[in-house]
Symmetry: D2
């Protein structure tokens, strides 16, 4: 290090790992700014702030990104129907670029040369955080202790961290660590590693924190009417009570509460990491699951068939980009814009029923849909001439007839 | 017509429509062979046979296609993960080519010049039936009364059919028609038209016949272990009882019973028909939903990430082909083969839990998976060097850095 | 027909077919407005106008659509890199919606109930013309005599048309018909049918009208510098002479002349028609070929790699839509917009060399490209650390190693 | 290093770089086996062998891989229609896995722990070579001196290499190095870097070694008839002379000679490297260009339209995989197999004309094509009813009419 100490912004969680990293970075000669993003996780931010200050952070920044997370990251995901490998709603993947944006803002305003974090060397999060930082701040340098031999040799396991913490007066967790790791934000909680690493073992039932066990959920279903404008949720009405929310953050929190109470949003999957490994993850995404389901329903109702095909293709591409950490990238910018254009007509409402772990779309309406009840009705001809279908079918058949004639020498 | 009467094979259901069509075809001078395919629908085939004979069918053929339907149509769909517009499992679409194959076999053996059916002129089924017939028997002629002006002018509504039936001594239904139409087979029941034509109206709860209302489903979940070999279900074990089935037809029926009892497999959607209309359909697909979910889980576990990407693309294409009626076509042949190749490693088991309308995949195992617990473990390094991730990320970042530098004149 | 005569707008070419159709429509009781679109084909419009008037057209409209054809149809095609089945630049497919738009405008302003045309019943053009008319004027009725049994029974071949023309005093062609048909506009000439129907026979060398035989082309190459802005050609400079054009129509005509003189733009292919047939076509597209090649070069230079991938996918979809006649459709609107967005950075110039039937892109420059000479240079490190490539490769290798270990039981 | 010397197999070219690397590896304590793959490049293998022996290689292996390169790497590429970013025929990308396979075979038989090569740290070749080696030999360790700081600090430029060579008695090139680098094999020569790094500068005309300048090419075109069986070239006939070759290697060499003589196969492009950079390359691929063109023609003639669509999608994916170095990977294995299946009907011949830098496909024939001259003929009805097209068009129009009615409130 030069005589003038380099400044590093550390993504700080208040936990054991990043507390030790904070201490270690100071030892290594850095001035450290601890950055805590509130993206809706359960956390005593004040206590964490004091902890960081006590360890020696030059500054502690706590940023409430919850609203931005909902409107700038979750809303585009909902409007795109984003889902990874057909099941995972990308709760962690969407949070990382949101946090990275915050880290970069501080790094720039504080003239930091480095950004650091506690993500491990086998996971996706390191990739997501760092790619986003590099994209938004091409000149930044990333410091990932869990990939630095100097650090990993010193801290070979949790015991080394605990010992180091005790040595440096860093408060250590009083409750034993759960035999898995978890990551929480307003959109979801993910659980992985530890006992979850064996995909043949059923996850323990006491794992879940955002959703009730469906078996404990109310016997009465909950009926909601969810309004969308251009693909984005704008209003939720609890049909029984008439209770209505429109504010994005409140809307999202209400849905989390209701869906969580009805046990909606749990999945247990094996997924493919960008880094080339398969990993098992358990996720609970209550509001996200409801919104995904409702949006899917409205979109199929509003969009032209062929536009829906293109949109689905682009959705799958975007899901991979976002999962892999490319939220801030030319391709994400481009595909997000294309997907947004596709949502111009996705306006209307969907009624959904939450019950014992499931969400069902049961009715929908849209001023924009080309759905034409007269045209489809079996009881009316509408503008449609049934004879036309004959020519339609016979013309489509030409290719098939030729193919089978050729391949079977048949007539 | 020539002095020698033309022979037509009629897809006969025993219902009012095809009974009138049978009568009408005879009046028009055809010799009619009534063909009834048993694809698992609830039907009194014997009574229907007598009815057809009474009306004047020259011959009545009843073919039990249930086993063939399961192994040759449903199994490839399960192995391909086939799903239309993200939700519909294609129960009707898969049945049509199965029936068409049967119709063509009879048409050939009986030297028929025509195949006829009672499908309407606005729907998908006419397309599916006829394309399959044209493909398998390029020289066949299709007779679709509901598209013939001579027929449609005479029968402008259900009342005309009833009157005609009474006039010709054809037994008419004694119970009033439900205010919707339905189509059933071993895979599913679909409901559409009538009061369902308004997508904003919730479907009546007394509609469903294959599945219990989730609210009425047992309080105890049902746990199953489902085995697959190369993507195809080979065994189902009821974990609580140890009851095991392997025969495809029995396996499918058992799953239908269990999933139906637990209320699994209902959807209510608006879909895009091939013919250019949107229509609202309610479907219940109990076994199909369980198998789709379990297969999805096992496949993600077994397949290489990039192979999974290609496979998903092909799956979406195949779903469209099948929905649109191109089961027998060069593209379906080709894509099915490609998808089958992708299933070579999809062997193993999945444990699922059925409960109150939902199916959850909760554990899985495979001798073929590349899942490597040591490699992914946070507690072991395996063969993986965390430092490598640095180069991985930094190299991926180059493109992003250049892009943002260019577009923001920033460094 | 009702006592008040229906009005039909006929796409009139001045040739034998549409002259007979004009006469026949009048006989059938229609008031006919003959519509001639000048889209750059060689035609004596004045003589054709007189001919139509003499036959009895109630009105003759000649519309110069050349400029609109270039800017509203060809430019988007160039900017999208549109090419059908890897080879055909869609010269006819692009012209049809342009003409249809003109037909619809007249039909609306003249309160016509019908639009008619002389396209045959096996080709693509009927589809393209009619779909565009239906889309732009949903209430219009199309009259396609070559698909009407009344017409086709009367006119079973060219002899019947000639005889009918003579009977009605319609001037008939004095030169014998070429043993193929052709269709010309400013973008291309297509040749098909007749002796071209045997794909194993080489097309006659005297067929071509827009391009010189490469063997007759000048010994000196022609060097051009072509400027694009957001994917659209804005300027062409003849490098040797300094001659510069910017007006779209002049630019296109200049390129046609130069490329035609150098024998550039001929292809001889078998293509797949929408209607399910394969057909053999010979095309010459001089300017279009040069622009396609230059744009392809600039685009690869300017676009991000991943954006290029998405763009290529969308391009292939759009090519099919346009070929099939869906220029005016929700999917075309949508995909064109997406593709346009992708062109935001495609600004700069390309130098091309025309020589003896070929066009070569030989140099290019762009203020927008992310191409970074320092970064790529073998002589400089730039911002790039070669060591990073190690981690990049080793991380990508994990998946492969696992796969081969699994599949070969090898280490 | 341990007392027992580690064995490294070095991909040796005989040039300055790999000669210095050989020397350096020996200095570093390795036993080095120099491996020279003959993949058709112009090279004095005997002289190179002596050079390696003189430097101190423990063993020198020269492997003639030309036939294997043609049949196992080029043929699948031709059959797949492989092309990268619409223009590059992947001559280098295909060679690397071929060489890697050879390296791995020696590494295994010689119990080597390392494979080394002279590829630079910014290019694609390091990725391709190493991924292939890791895939085929998961336990191998790769030694890439140009990415090792110890090596790159010592050899900062060509002067350092020359000096080192002189010091160690390694013969140095007597002719000055061309101001670009090149890489040659039987399929192509690529040129890049040096003066080519400025994409706005036209490449010098004296660069090319496999193809004549089109201006110097013969005035008489060359006509060839190329036969394919299941997508693979099986015979070439020189139409003028009747000269016929069938042996794959001879066939490929003959095409190289003829196409080279007629100036066919040059491109000058900017491409996207896997590693995130754009780079400018000039390529000449004489035989490959002819075969690509002929195969494209035959394939469009033989394949069903929809199969062609799927095939094109898979082709684009495979091109990326191969370019990026994933020849030996689950996805390449899978997609190659799918593409091979698509070639089952691609059997027949194409006549091509080579002239002054261009290749034109001018006629084709196939026993497998579904092309049906009667059906497409304008002079015959075949099995086709023109009236059917009416229903085909009108049914396709429904969706468009609804869309435009909705969006324009128009009728």
């Amino acid at each position: 290090m030069t005589s003038q100490r380099s400044v590093v912004v550390l993504a700080y969680s208040g936990g054991l790992d990043t507390s030790c990293i904070l201490q270690w970075l100071i030892e290594e000669g850095y001035d450290v700014i601890a950055y805590m993003a509130n993206i809706g996780q359960e956390e005593d931010f004040e206590a964490a702030q004091k902890k960081a200050q006590k360890i020696g952070a030059k500054k502690v920044v706590i940023a409430d990104l919850r609203r931005e997370f909902v409107t700038d990251f979750i809303w585009p995901a909902v409007g795109s129907g984003l889902i990874y490998e057909s099941r995972y709603l990308l709760g962690t993947s969407l949070a990382r670029p949101c946090i990275a944006k915050g880290l970069v803002a501080i790094a720039r305003s504080e003239n930091a040369q480095f950004i650091s974090h506690g993500a491990t060397g086998k996971g996706n999060d390191q990739v997501r955080l760092e790619l986003a930082c590099y994209a938004l701040f091409p000149g930044i340098k990333m410091l990932a202790p869990w990939r630095l031999p100097k650090f990993t040799k010193r801290f070979q396991g949790r015991q080394d961290l605990l010992k180091y913490a005790v040595e440096h007066g860093i408060p250590v967790p009083v409750t034993p660590k759960a035999p898995w790791s978890m990551d929480a934000n307003i959109m979801h909680i993910s659980y992985e590693s530890g006992i979850l690493e064996d995909p043949a073992e059923i996850a323990p039932s006491n794992l879940y924190q955002m959703t009730l066990d469906p078996a404990q959920a109310p016997e009465q279903p909950c009926y909601l009417q969810i309004f969308f404008k251009k693909g984005v949720p704008t209003q939720v009405v609890q049909i029984d009570t008439g209770n209505t929310v429109e504010d994005p953050l409140e809307l999202y929190q209400l849905l989390n509460n209701l869906a969580g109470k009805h046990g909606v949003g749990r999945i247990d999957i094996v997924e493919n990491r960008f880094i080339g490994l398969k990993s098992r993850g358990v996720y609970e995404t209550p509001a996200g699951t409801v919104l995904h389901s409702a949006h899917l329903d409205l979109e199929a109702f509003c969009l032209d068939r062929e536009v829906l095909r293109i949109k689905s293709y682009l959705r799958d591409r975007l899901a991979d980009y976002v999962y892999n950490g490319f939220w801030f990238s030319p391709e994400c910018n481009y595909v997000r814009k294309c997907l947004q254009n596709a949502q111009d007509n996705v306006t209307g409402w969907v009624k959904v029923k939450l019950f014992k772990g499931s969400v069902f779309s049961i009715a929908r309406s849209s001023p924009q849909s080309v759905y034409n009840q007269d045209l489809v009705s079996m009881d009316k001809h509408g503008d449609f001439q049934p004879e036309d279908a004959t020519g339609f079918i016979r013309t489509h058949a030409i290719r098939l007839q030729e193919f089978y004639r050729k391949n079977t020498n048949d007539d």
